[in-house]
Symmetry: C2
Subunit: 309 residues, 2 copies
Amino acid sequence: MGKDIHAIAIHGGAGTILRSKMTEEKERDYREALETALDAGYLVLDQGGTSLDAVEKAVNALENCPLFNAGKGSVFNAKGQHEMDASIMDGHTLHAGAVAAVRNFKNPITLAHKVLVHSDHVLLVGEGAMEFAKPFDLEIETDEYFHVDHRYAQWQKIKGSDSFQLDHAKEDKKYLGTVGAVALDKHGNLAAATSTGGMTNKKFGRIGDSPLIGLGNYANNKTCAVSCTGSGEYLMRGVTAYDISCLMEYKGLSLDEAAKESVMNRLLALGGDGGVIAIDVKGNISMPFNCEGMYRGMRNSGGKEISIY
Amino acid sequence: MGKDIHAIAIHGGAGTILRSKMTEEKERDYREALETALDAGYLVLDQGGTSLDAVEKAVNALENCPLFNAGKGSVFNAKGQHEMDASIMDGHTLHAGAVAAVRNFKNPITLAHKVLVHSDHVLLVGEGAMEFAKPFDLEIETDEYFHVDHRYAQWQKIKGSDSFQLDHAKEDKKYLGTVGAVALDKHGNLAAATSTGGMTNKKFGRIGDSPLIGLGNYANNKTCAVSCTGSGEYLMRGVTAYDISCLMEYKGLSLDEAAKESVMNRLLALGGDGGVIAIDVKGNISMPFNCEGMYRGMRNSGGKEISIY
């Protein structure tokens, strides 16, 4: 701990990620992608940038990678479309921006950041969010850009059925796809960002925890910044992101104690799988998950760590 | 306190409700409408029904009354349409159901209750929510049903501008319109329900706190049931409904202390106007608001109370 301390943590989703089913090549691809995102965010912090910009840049890198369920790698919904959700929060001002059910934006988290800065509102959905975006020079991509073969194959398997899947769940294998980042900048400010493509074959305009402040994403300089990943409905009912903040503020738990209590006890008691990445103003990082694996990484002045299991 | 204790509280929105601008007739209309809703919910409880059914019935009555910004009395958005949001939560199971940006449903809270019971999801939006509703026999109304003259006049005043209003804000008069109910049933279970027509002239698919679990609505038998009303974006950033629950669970505050801390201190510190109704498993009720007035009422075996200022 000291002056100018800065740190970042990221995740690329959690679930039944089994070592036995992972090839060496695939694992290397995931690790490289996580490192690229981690470094992109850390560079912003190291150069004195804000935690908001750092989490946006880190999430952009994950959104641009087809391996993760966000941005380019977003899953197909029941109509064969890609509908994405994202949210970002500033721990200094408690301002937040979020979008849900948006299409064709290359980087939904960048759109959410525009909502944070330029709107009196917090959450914009669907066509309305797209209309809001018009004055801004955001990158729009074609449907083809979002067509990733392994996502299409996942959808084809359950298309037309009533099933929906959290990303590429198959048989006993579940991967609950979301990406996120939390950071502390040199100015002492926290921020959190989360972005997702939702669930394969999802119907009925379902929205999960990712774009919802306090549920899938939260930041407050008094306590922590948190990004969640996992079974969204359980994270919503557990109000998991804000729960961790409250365990610190009202019960006096440390970041690690609070994150573990919320994920390993409270979320499990509801029946929910998942994990979180969390950071406090001292630069402490906690990344608990209650399932087999979570793609994750952290970097501070002491070095970096990337893990899956 | 004792066996078979049951109680209900309702609200019809909060804001700059000034006694000086209220006629006797108007005040009588509001009081009568509140009493009708209160009695409808209380009857369910008294007959041994569930708190979930009681809050639904109370909110139905408020939704069917043109005085409040929900259901029939919903305000006009920028397109001259009525887009409504609602959420309901079961304090016993922590199951929840919510809908946002739905049109033409006479009673959005009844649709939210269907989501709670019949869906694995928590939050459905727009067309998707309407598709989900198809198998259920829910009352659908024409656009004409939702055309209420004073709402139309409010919209005409700011139509085409960039302004938006929380219900019938005019000059210095702000009324932050939402309706809600919280209840404790004879089985010892809590429930909360909230329903709204949003903001006059709202654009960009804006969604406020009302349909969001933990933000505008929350219920948990361990702590309390809460329904919020006020400036939605501040209630979202404050995660107000769950904040009250956490102040009780983690800090050991009483229901009244927790509700007041959250509304009178924390929400105000963010700059937000509004109020909440809250109930705990002992049947204690707290209804703090940090603005001039809140349409509200409560009823238990000891009698009933209806208040505005």
